[in-house]
């Protein structure tokens, strides 16, 4: 993991170099081992390095190509770089064993086509000194982040929005659509960013920046891959074998490291599979890490310990009081420099903190749920989808009936029945703040589109006749995974200068998963059907077939207990609230209802609180936080 930063100025003045260095310094935790800058006419490049491969100074960045035409800043890892080297011929031979050098030589040889050949997690920028163009790319799945800004004769980019914002002069102009979408689903899907003049480069895309402007191009896309019906007739054992081999290959590729490496191990299927593959790949006693909680409802410690025992790994665990996670709140607020409302960031940060005491790289199982059908709402989607085809009158009557019942779940079902199609149903199930519109200023509601339109737009490339669950999985894989879960992994691990690698996001595995018919993902309500079959090769059934727990924290209780006072202070801070287009009275009412136990509103409240913290942080650093609204036709 590293941090990159750059600014290309075509007209106008560049900021002082000190500002550039200060912005680069904001990425220090991403790369504490080394830093470097590159200055030439109109261009500034900066790099913070976390040394993982080739620890010597020859891996220093920014790095020039062998012919000195190109200069690169690169964040990430190219797992197949050793395989690519024999196909490349740098002038005067290789200077290092670094994957950065391989990448820049690959670009020198193949241009944009290098993206088709590399397998890795990355965000990088390459400056062509001859053509005076900047090539900026992000990996296929979106493991590594990249933000950019274009306007006023300047193109800037950075690994994090905070650094880029500082480089561009600070100030906070909130994108109203991002605000709306954030309150609705708890994260901000690319290309939206919370800053109005900033964009997040979507996964699988590159940018070409030249005097003619900025062009954004998609170079890889899983959306249109059709499920392959011929796989239905293949023996299940053959598919298990094939999947096992793919996971093995993805994990083995990610063992490339010159520093100690381990893995996160929860009690779940995905991380256990990763660890099992590490063993198969020859890591005799991989170090694995788990956070256990004293409170039973949140504790996956015993399950992880059992898996570790069966797999024969060097297991490290730390038992915490769940409330002690609150010690991480300042880190959470500091490091998420874009509002982020997934409270599972707490345990992720805790396990990262633990792992970092022992290793510099950790493998994680992230991505398996989205590609192999892990979430509880996938089977639910398929069960609810037939109801959407009911006639309007029947649906209306059913909704009225369900709404009149006293249970929360029936009210939710009534809401779900309002959906017109499977994308809308997914949107309903996935949204965290179902009553968010009551909080937002009416102008914003009228002038912006909601998050469902982003889902709709993404789904236009899906194959015809996908099941509802398959539709949901692809939406999660393309939007929720990169912009929520992988963002959480990136920021949480970055906060402790640990590099996380996610083998389940290997593009070969993803393409295979897209072809895999649904019956091998969710069958009779059983999620991750085929993945569990693979894991059964390594672990006994009671370790494999156990309820999914996830990284939950008792947020609802926290907001009534230890965080109540903090939440009240934030929400009753008139100055702070006035910086956001929220209905103050309504927000306070939601907090009161939650505090008094009248209703459970913790997901929405947490979103609002993270938003307030974000604005507060910016307000403290910047003189004039301003609200502005973008016109949306």
């Amino acid at each position: 993991m590293c941090g990159i930063l750059g600014l290309l100025t075509t007209t106008g003045a560049q900021p002082p170099f000190e500002t550039f260095l200060a912005a680069l310094d904001r990425l220090k935790l991403r790369g504490p081992d080394d830093s470097g800058t590159w200055r030439e006419d109109g261009l500034l490049l900066g790099h913070r390095r976390l040394s993982i491969v080739d620890l010597s100074p020859t891996g220093h960045q920014p790095m020039e190509s062998s012919d000195r035409r190109f200069v690169i800043v690169f964040n990430g890892e190219i797992y197949n770089h050793a395989e690519l080297r024999p196909c490349l011929s740098p002038q005067n031979g290789w200077r290092s064993t670094s994957d950065t050098e391989t990448l820049i030589e690959a670009y020198r040889a193949w241009g944009v086509g290098c993206l088709e050949r590399i397998n890795g997690m990355f965000a990088f920028a390459i400056w062509d000194r001859m053509e005076r163009t900047l090539f900026v790319a992000r990996d296929r799945i979106g493991v590594k982040p990249l933000y950019y800004s274009n306007g006023n004769g300047q193109f800037g980019f950075a690994s994090r929005p905070g650094a880029l914002n500082m480089l561009l002069g600070g100030g906070l102009i909130i994108d109203p659509e991002a605000l709306r979408v954030y309150l609705e689903i708890g994260y901000i899907p690319a290309p939206l960013s919370f800053h109005r003049d900033m964009r997040k480069l979507p996964a699988g895309h590159y940018l070409i920046v030249s005097a003619r402007g900025v062009r954004r191009v998609r170079y890889w896309d899983f959306r249109a891959i059709k499920p392959d019906p011929s796989m239905n007739s293949r023996p299940e054992g053959e598919l298990v074998e094939e999947l096992d081999a793919l996971i093995y290959s993805a994990v083995k590729a990610r063992l490339m490291s010159d520093v100690p490496l381990g893995a996160f191990l929860s009690g779940g299927v995905d991380s256990a599979l990763v660890v099992a593959a590490m063993k198969s790949a020859g890591v005799e006693h991989p170090k694995t890490f788990t956070i256990a909680f004293k409170e039973k409802g949140f504790d996956e410690g015993p399950a992880a310990a059992r898996a570790a025992e069966h797999l024969g790994v060097d297991h490290v665990h730390e038992t915490l009081d769940v409330n002690s996670l609150l010690d991480l709140l300042p880190t959470y607020i500091q490091e998420y420099d874009e509002p982020f409302a997934d409270s599972s960031a707490f345990p992720t940060m805790a396990v990262t903190r633990l792992a970092r005491r022992h290793v510099k790289v950790a493998l994680s199982g992230d991505g398996a749920d989205e590609f192999f059908g892990g979430y509880h709402y996938y089977p639910l989607m398929d069960r609810l989808a037939p109801l959407l085809a009911w006639r309007t009158g029947s649906k209306g009557a059913a909704r009225q009936l369900l709404k009149s019942l006293p249970w929360h779940r029936t009210k939710l079902l009534a809401g779900a029945l309002q959906s017109q199609n499977t994308v809308a149903l997914f949107h309903f199930l996935r949204s965290v703040g179902k009553d968010y519109p009551t909080l937002l200023n009416r102008d914003i509601l009228q002038s912006t589109a909601n998050s469902e339109t982003w889902f709709d737009q993404f789904a236009t490339s899906f194959p015809m006749d996908l099941s509802a669950a398959e539709t949901a999985m692809r939406l999660d894989a393309g939007l929720t995974l990169p912009d929520l879960f992988l963002q959480k992994v990136d920021v949480s691990t970055m906060a402790f200068s640990l590099e996380a690698r996610c083998p389940m996001t290997d593009y070969r595995l993803v393409e295979w998963a897209m072809r895999l018919p649904m019956q091998f993902k969710v069958r009779n309500g059983e999620t991750k059907y085929l993945l569990k079959k693979v894991l059964s090769r390594y672990l006994p059934a009671d370790c494999v077939y156990r309820p999914k727990m996830g990284f939950a924290v008792p947020l609802a209780k926290w907001l009534r207990g230890p965080l109540r006072h903090w939440a009240e202070e934030l929400i009753h801070d008139d100055t702070l609230m006035s910086r956001l287009p929220l209905d103050k009275a309504r927000v306070r009412e939601v907090l009161r209802q939650h505090s008094d136990g009248d209703r459970e509103s913790h997901p929405l409240l947490w979103s609002v609180l993270m938003l307030l913290c974000f604005v507060q942080t910016h307000g403290a650093r910047r003189a004039l936080p301003v609200m502005a609204y973008r016109e949306v036709a």
Binding site: R216, R218, W220, Q457, F462, P463, A633
Partner: protein, 375 residues
């Protein structure tokens, strides 16, 4: 000496005739063909209104009665017509009328006219069910507009006799040969790609949003994208164009006349409609006839018309990268462009499989009218 031929009388049950759309165009073409063959056509059309019928030029030997969407009146009229039994053939223009027709005909055990069904696209690709399968077994012939449609029906109703499913592709309407292109296209940029389609929420399978994304990735920023059509999804597509930063170069046009449309076909760099569910894709034939290179999706009925690298370029549905590359290829490779345009046009000009004359010959064979009648 042969006895003088008596022109047959056919009853057509159509959803609609006097509008634009694939099924409507097919219905118009079959009536035009029947006109050439001297067949007397009585048409009962569910969705046409007397006003729309009055505005439409129909052959002299066709009589159309429209029911403005009134299903009850339509059903009564169909029952009356079938029970009177004065027709040599009954032609069911949509599978939704199949059960009604077969049910009514069951009430008339004698002098029952042979019945034919035309199977277009989406509506027969799934959900045929038992009742319809039975009804399908009662019709004399099923005219399938594409190989895909024929295959899907047989997959769902394997008991059907395969020979009764006749491949009966659509054809370019005769009228197109007589329309003159507008002298100048309506306020156009010089350089553009074109789509012509409905823009309803339910028609997202047409792939217009995917073309917008592909278009936004093109290096040539002088290129424009024209979408001819209207529907309730327009605001969504405009939002998509805005999000991809190309709203100034994506133009939605409706109310385009036939002569303007011809000019658009003739001047576009490519006709792009990567639709995922095209029953046949008559619009591809129109584009080909007027010399536009066609880019389609390798899906369903479109594959009968657009063969990759031969009569056009075909891409995987939803694959925006492939659409972008196909546009770039067709624009930059003059030889490829000329090749696919020539082969595409050959499909719809004399001797090609999708000409009006060929369609009329198929009608003559199907309705057992001597070919000598064909004009």
């Amino acid at each position: 000496m042969a006895a003088p031929r008596v022109a047959p009388r056919l009853l057509f049950l159509f959803t609609e005739v006097c509008a634009n759309g694939g099924i409507q165009r097919f219905n118009q073409t079959i009536l035009d063909s029947c006109g050439r063959l001297g067949i007397q056509c009585q048409v009962l059309s569910l969705n046409d209104s007397p006003a729309s019928i009055a505005k439409t030029l129909t052959p002299d030997n066709s009589s159309i009665v429209g029911f403005s969407g009134d299903r009850r009146r339509f059903a009564i009229a169909v029952a009356g017509a079938l029970l009177r039994g004065r027709y040599d053939r009954v032609f069911i223009g949509h599978i939704n009328f199949l059960l009604l027709t077969i049910g009514i005909l069951a009430l008339q055990p004698f002098n029952r006219a042979p019945t034919m069904l035309v199977a277009h696209g989406i509506e027969v690709w799934s959900g045929i069910g038992r009742a319809r399968s039975y009804a399908l077994s009662r019709v004399t012939g099923i005219l399938c507009v594409s190989n895909y449609t024929r295959r899907r029906i047989l997959e769902q109703a394997p008991a059907l006799i395969a020979d009764r499913l006749i491949r009966f592709p659509n054809a370019l309407a005769d009228t197109w040969g007589h329309v003159v292109a507008a002298p100048s296209t309506p306020s156009l940029a010089a350089h553009f790609i074109l789509s012509v389609t409905r823009l309803d929420r339910g028609d997202r399978y047409k792939g217009i949003a995917t073309v917008i994304e592909a278009f936004s990735m093109l290096a040539d920023d002088s290129m424009h994208y024209l979408v001819v059509g209207h529907g309730n999804d327009l605001s969504f597509l405009q939002l998509v164009a805005e999000r991809y930063g190309v709203k100034d170069r994506v133009h939605f046009m409706s109310g385009v006349s036939d002569s303007e449309l011809i000019a658009l076909y003739q001047q576009c760099q490519a006709f792009v409609l990567p639709s995922g569910k095209e029953g046949f894709g008559i619009v591809f034939l129109e584009a080909m006839f007027f010399g536009a290179p066609v880019i389609a999706a390798r899906e369903k009925g479109a594959v009968d018309v657009v063969r990759d690298g031969d009569t056009g370029l075909s891409v995987r549905f939803g694959d925006t990268i492939a659409i972008k590359e196909a546009i770039e290829r067709i624009v930059s490779d003059t030889r490829l462009r000329e090749h696919v345009c020539a082969n595409g046009r050959a499909l719809v000009t004399e001797g090609g499989p999708f000409t009006f004359a060929g369609f009329t010959r198929r009608c003559a064979q199907t309705f057992e009218v001597g070919e000598t009648i064909v004009a």
